[in-house]
Symmetry: C2
């Protein structure tokens, strides 16, 4: 721990309060900042990352060394590690966010009242956003940039493993802000690894408008339990693919294999496969053989195992488990209503797909499955802001309020009503 | 706590849990209920109120008698009292909500991706909504109807003063639901006046999706403090009217008088008047004379009192007080920037107006005042869902998330992404 860090730890509450106060000040300027200034800041930050990646690589080496000393696992080290290629990807991410349309000032709706009042609903920034995240250093760049683009001030609390890397990335972001003459407090990083900083943040409802946690289930649950500030959270992705009796079998095989195995560690990966009893005899074996051949462990209910004896036994707990690994649970259900029933009961309202050639059955599924994203004849792995054309995202919200599904730049705004009159009074 | 009390509280938890469970079941049917069924239910409920108002008047008489016994004030008794005219107004309110367009199923946006995926953002109900309110019995009808219209299940916790009236209104709503073959658990009323019921509701984050408190500041604060469920709240309306140096004086007099005095007890009533120093010598006296003549108490800063000696002294506390009475605080400020500074510092981000003939100054105010509703040359008393053309409302949200400003039928919905493909997989 550095001397500066030790000093911060002495009075975390005061430090956090000062940061949030500075963020509130910054928001006033950001809310009316020209789109070009915000875009310029992001492009200058991207350039700074590219031209001075030595400082960032040094900082990252320190993080990696500490991680090795703490004997963190290989997967963690891989998530943490930066190299020139990853830094270039991070810089490109900033450039892409810079190129997105500025949501602030968008007139979302406009109408005239009989009394002549003209009413417009206009997008404005949300305000001060606290983001609490784990490990991957690139989140520092992404999250800071998305908040800035939408005119918000960001208070970032990165993972303790990426502490030094995040500080180096912040330096680049700050450089961009200064170049664009925007307040440096627009993007701040909590200067301590002490977890008390998170507790202090979650209490500052007067200064912080919204908290976005991004990380594992225990982090999300802690934040939801402690926060006095509204939270936009991605809890978990227990995603399903349902193969209907009227599915085209080739499509089903291709979609299921992709939905489960393209990447198993993402929230949109299918965790449970539901198969219509009417097609089970024909579909279970080929679909599960594809998965097994790709290295996937299969856990089935009795009907599944009768058709695919190599499957392990699925227990009730499997229906509510987000594996994030090459494991799939499989259940034979009675048609689309059986699938809807299972998904609404055991799922996490994240992303669910149906494979069928019957349009009416598909619409029934899309209507009745209560999830942020529902798909017909497509892989659940499309659950991603970039794939939706929304540009970068800060996560996928499994909540119902404000933002549902991918949280991109637009979802980091709110709106105000602007009413223009010529002296109207209310009778 | 006595053993008996403990048992009661235990029962309340179970009762509330059963209600919320029934509401969750109802939501499934409501989410896919035809628009006509929902409208028919509301119209049948309106008819039931009209044709059997004797039962409701009896119930209301019981409430009034209990209120008199508890020596509640005249204003409270007036808010509580129903008569055939008020019942007719309530029934008309239900008919008006029935006639609103159904928001559920609205395609808010739709686009095609380069890979052929068609993505639509479609409005869906929020889910189970808990509404906690005080005194006025008509809220039972309005809130229940608004929730139903948007496909939500409502758990209503009315004021203890209107307990019997609310039950009679619920009977009419239930009659409408039954006639339209919708689940009766779509609208439920907490069957006890025990305040523990509120505590139990606020903990059921797994069953209730959102809490809407509607009442005084202490109720709102209790709900915000205790709730584990997201809250859409109207905290308070510390609204301002700013008279700019370039204002037309006649317009300013008319708008200010209306903004303060049309009705003083509504959240959109102006509580603080800000006057540009450049026009103070000309504007302070006539504007304040109008207000004084209408019976308004005036509390001014030193500059105001120099020009209008009859004003009482305004203290710092006046800038943060929602009077809801015929009292106004008045301050002379330095132009539009002084007004913006004052409003963002002391206001409640509810509704604020500028009176000016200078378009650029007006735009500066509309841009920089961080409130749910900002008006140019119009009375702050237009802060109302009906006046905005949104139909009935359940309140005006002073929060920034999800719903800001009037909370009407649309604000009681969320959305899902519906993605239609033909076998796409993610590369």
């Amino acid at each position: 721990m550095s001397v500066a860090e030790a000093r911060v730890n002495e009075d975390i509450e005061a430090v956090m309060r000062d940061m949030a106060g500075a963020a509130r000040e910054a928001v006033r300027a950001l809310a009316v900042a020209p789109s070009e200034a915000k875009a310029n800041a992001l492009r200058a930050a991207a350039d700074a990352l590219r031209t001075d990646n030595a400082a960032l690589l040094d900082a990252n080496a320190r993080d990696l060394e500490e991680a090795r000393r703490r004997e963190l696992g290989g997967a963690m080290l891989d998530r943490l590690a930066l190299d020139p290629r990853r830094i270039e990807a991070m810089a490109n991410g900033l450039d892409e966010i810079a190129a997105l349309p500025d949501p602030v000032g968008d007139v979302m709706a406009e109408w005239m009242r009989p009394n002549g009042l003209r009413i417009a609903r206009v997008r404005v920034p949300l305000g001060v956003i606290g983001i609490i995240y784990e490990s991957r250093p690139n989140v520092t760049a992404d999250a800071g940039a998305l908040c800035l683009k939408a005119g918000n001030a960001a208070i970032l609390r990165g993972g303790s493993e990426s502490f030094h890397s995040s500080r180096a990335i912040l330096t680049a972001l700050r450089h961009g802000l200064a170049r664009a003459k925007l307040p440096e407090a627009a993007i701040q990083l909590v200067p301590t690894r002490d977890r008390a900083a998170v507790g202090a943040m979650l209490k500052m409802a007067e200064l912080i408008d919204i908290i976005v946690p991004r990380g594992g289930k225990s982090l999300i649950e802690r934040v939801r339990r402690e926060s006095r500030i509204p939270v936009i959270a991605h809890l978990e992705g227990i995603c399903h693919t349902y193969v209907d009796g009227e599915a085209d079998l080739d499509t089903a095989r291709k979609v299921v294999l992709n939905a489960k195995m393209r990447r198993t560690g993402v929230c949109g990966a299918t965790e449970t496969l539901l198969i219509d009893r009417r097609i089970a005899a024909r579909a279970v074996a080929p679909i599960l053989e594809d998965l097994a051949a790709a290295g996937c462990e299969i856990r089935g209910d009795a009907a599944t195992r009768a058709l695919f004896p190599a499957a392990l036994v699925a227990t009730e707990a499997d229906w509510t488990t987000e594996y994030l690994e090459a494991i799939i649970s499989v259940r034979v259900v009675d048609g689309v209503d059986g699938a809807i029933e299972h998904i609404n009961r055991f799922g996490s309202h994240h992303t669910d797909a149906i494979v069928t050639c019957d349009g009416a059955v598909a619409e029934r599924f899309l209507d009745r499955v209560d999830s942020a994203i529902v798909l017909h004849n497509a892989s659940t792995q499309f659950a991603d802001g970039g794939e939706f054309g929304m540009g970068a995202e800060i996560g996928i919200s499994t909540g119902r309020l404000h933002a549902r599904g991918p949280v991109g730049v637009e979802q980091l705004t709110t709106f105000k009503y602007v009413v223009r009159g010529d002296g109207q009074v209310r009778p």
